[in-house]
Symmetry: C2
Subunit: 298 residues, 2 copies
C-alpha cells in the first residue's frame, strides 16, 4: 500500500491540534510511510510540543491555533472532548477554503454539535472520526506509529460533509493501517457506550468500591491474575473518561441502566440459589465471548 | 528448598480426588521436585484418569474412593464445590487414623459445613484450603507444575484441626512454591467474594447483556483491546462459577449489593453530569489499582 516516493504524499501539510497519544500516533504513522509532507503541532504547553519535536513526531509547532492551521490541507483535532468546541472556534478563522478538518473524539454526537456551533462555513469539510485504538497511557511519549494497524476507525459523516473531505480522511486512516467504517453518529455513540464506555465505568466502579471496603489493603492482597486483567482499564486517564461520560451521557446512562437491571436479576438468582439461571447466563456469556474472539481472529 | 533425594518425600502416598487443573497441578508440582512417593488419582471418568496417567500426573488410579485413599498419608479433594460433601462421605470409610485430608474449594464456609456433616472422626485431620491460582481452562490437560509458584494459598483451619495436619498441608503448598496464609473461613469468603467472585459475576453479566443487545454481532465488532482483557474471566467454566455463587451466596450477594449501590451513585453522577464526582471516583480507582500493582511487584 506504500506509494512511490515520487508521488506526492497524501497530506502535504498536516496540523495536529493536541499532540498526545492519538494525534501523535497518526502523525508518526504517516511519517513512517512518507505520506505527509510537514506536520505542525499545536497545544497549550510548549514543553509538550518541544518533546513532540524531539521525538520526531512533529516538524514544527505553534501555540496559536490560527497560525498552526495556516496552509494546512488537513487539520486533525486530537484534544480532550471537553476542549473540542473551544479548539474548533479557535482554528476556524485560520482554515483555508479547502482545508479538511477531522477529529478523534470518543463520542461523536457531542463533537458534531460542537462543530455545528462554531465551524461556520468550514462545516462541510469536517469529518467526525473515532479510532478504536488506544492504551491506558497518554501523552506524546506514549504515541507510536503502529497504534492503528489492524484496528478500526469509525467515521460519522454528516449530511453536509463533502465527499472529497470524507475521502481524504478515509485514505489517511487506511494508510495508517486501519479498517475504516462509516456509521451514523447516534449509532456510534450507542455501540461505544456498550462496548467501551460501560466497561470503563464498571471497572473504575469496582476498584473504587473495593478500595473503600473496610480492610482494603488486605483485599487487594488476595486478588489473583484475573483481577489484574479485569481492572486494567481502570488505569486509564480519569479526565478523559469523565469527558467521555459527560459527552455521551445519554447513551452511557442507558447502558448503565440496562446493565444494572441485568445485575439485579443475577443478584436475585444468587439470593434464591437459582443455579439454572446462573449457569444459563454464564454459559451464554462464555459462548458469546468465544464468538467475539473468533471474530477477532478472522 | 528442594530437599535431598535420600530424605523421604513430604508425602509418601498422595490421593488426589478430582484430577483436574487444580488437583493435577499440585500433583505435578510435588512430582517435579521428588516430594511425593506415589500419586493415586480418583474421579468419575476412567478416560480422564487414563489421560492423567498418560500425562504422568498420577501413577495409578481407582474409581472407588475408598480404594483410592487406602494407605494414603494425604488426600487432596479437588472436585467441584457441589461434589464436596458427597466425596467426603465416599472417602470417609477408607481414611486411615492419621490420614490428612485437605481441599481446594473456592469457598470455605460451605466446605467446612460439608466436612462437619460427613467426615466423622476424621474431621480433626481436615485442613480446608484454597489456592489463589487458576486459569480459565479446566481438566488435567490444563494442569502444570508451576501453577502455584509465587501464588497465595489460604488455609482456614477449624478449632479442632490438629496442628500436625495443618503443618503437613502448609508444607506441601510451600514445596509447590506458594505463600501460605491462615484466615478465618468467614473472612476468606468475604475477601474472595469481593476480589474474585464479584468480578466474575460482573464480567459474565456484561458479556451476557451485550450479547442480548439488539445488534449484538456488530457490538462485539467494535470492541477494542480493553474489552478483551476486561471480559477474559467470562471465559471461565460456567459450572464452577455457578457452584461458587451457590456455595458462597451470602457473601456474593453482599458484594453484589454493595457494588450495585456504587453503580447507582455513578449512574446518577453521569445523569446529572457531575464531572467532579466522576473524576473523584475514577482517580481514586486508578490510584488504588496502582497501589495493587505496586503490591504485586514487591
Ligand atoms: N486514549 C484513548 O484510548 C483514545 C482512543 C480513541 C480516541 N481518543 C480521543 O482522543 C482524544 C485525545 O486523547 P489522547 O489519549 O490522545 O489524550 P492525550 O494523550 O492526553 O493528548 C491530548 C492532547 O491534547 C492537548 N490539549 C489538551 N487540551 C487542549 C486544548 N484546550 N487546546 C489544545 N490542545 C489541548 C494536550 O497537550 P497540552 O497539554 O500541551 O495542551 C495533549 O497533547 C480525546 O478526545 C479522546 O476522547 C482517545
Ligand atoms: N480453576 C480455578 O481457577 C480454581 C482456583 C482455585 C480453586 N478452584 C477449586 O478447585 C476445584 C476443582 O476445580 P478445577 O478447576 O481443578 O476443575 P476441573 O479441572 O474441572 O477438575 C475437577 C475434577 O474433579 C473431578 N470430579 C468432578 N466431580 C467429581 C465427583 N463427584 N467425584 C470425583 N471426582 C469428580 C473431575 O473429573 P471427572 O469428570 O473424571 O470426575 C475433574 O478431574 C473446585 O472446587 C474449584 O472451586 C478452582
Amino acid at each position: 500500500m506504500v506509494e512511490q516516493d515520487n508521488n506526492p504524499p497524501a497530506v502535504k501539510r498536516l496540523a495536529v491540534i493536541g499532540v498526545g497519544l492519538i494525534g501523535g500516533s497518526l502523525a508518526r504513522a504517516l511519517r513512517a510511510i512518507g505520506q505527509v509532507g510537514e506536520v505542525v503541532g499545536c497545544g497549550r504547553n510548549v514543553a509538550h510540543l518541544q518533546r513532540g519535536m524531539d521525538l520526531g513526531v512533529i516538524d514544527t509547532f505553534a501555540t496559536d491555533p490560527v497560525e498552526a492551521v495556516a496552509g494546512a490541507d488537513m487539520v486533525l483535532v486530537a484534544v480532550p472532548l471537553s476542549a473540542m468546541r473551544q479548539v474548533f472556534a479557535a482554528i476556524e478563522p485560520g482554515l483555508g477554503p479547502d482545508t479538511v478538518i477531522s477529529d478523534v473524539g470518543s463520542a461523536k454526537v457531542s463533537v458534531i454539535e460542537d462543530a455545528r456551533a462554531v465551524l461556520g462555513s468550514a462545516l462541510d469539510r469536517f469529518v467526525p472520526g473515532h479510532p478504536i485504538a488506544g492504551t491506558e497511557k497518554s501523552g506524546v511519549e506514549a504515541s507510536f506509529p503502529d497504534l492503528y494497524r489492524g484496528r478500526r476507525v469509525i467515521l460519522t459523516p454528516m449530511a453536509e460533509t463533502r465527499p472529497e473531505a470524507l475521502q481524504l480522511v478515509r485514505r489517511v486512516w487506511r494508510l495508517a493501517g486501519a479498517e475504516v467504517t462509516d456509521m451514523a453518529p447516534e449509532h456510534h455513540d450507542e455501540v461505544l457506550a456498550a462496548t467501551s464506555h460501560l466497561p470503563h465505568v464498571l471497572a473504575y466502579g469496582l476498584v473504587d468500591t473495593l478500595s473503600r471496603w473496610s480492610d482494603r489493603d488486605e483485599i487487594f492482597q488476595y486478588a489473583a491474575g484475573g483481577f489484574r486483567d479485569f481492572t486494567r482499564i481502570a488505569s486509564s486517564d480519569p479526565a478523559m473518561w469523565r469527558d467521555i461520560c459527560l459527552a455521551n451521557h445519554d447513551a452511557v446512562v442507558v447502558a448503565l441502566e440496562r446493565y444494572s437491571a441485568a445485575l439485579a436479576t443475577l443478584t436475585d438468582a444468587v439470593r434464591e440459589r437459582d443455579g439454572d439461571q446462573l449457569i444459563a447466563c454464564f454459559s451464554n456469556a462464555r459462548d458469546a465471548r468465544q464468538r467475539f474472539l473468533d471474530m477477532l481472529e478472522r
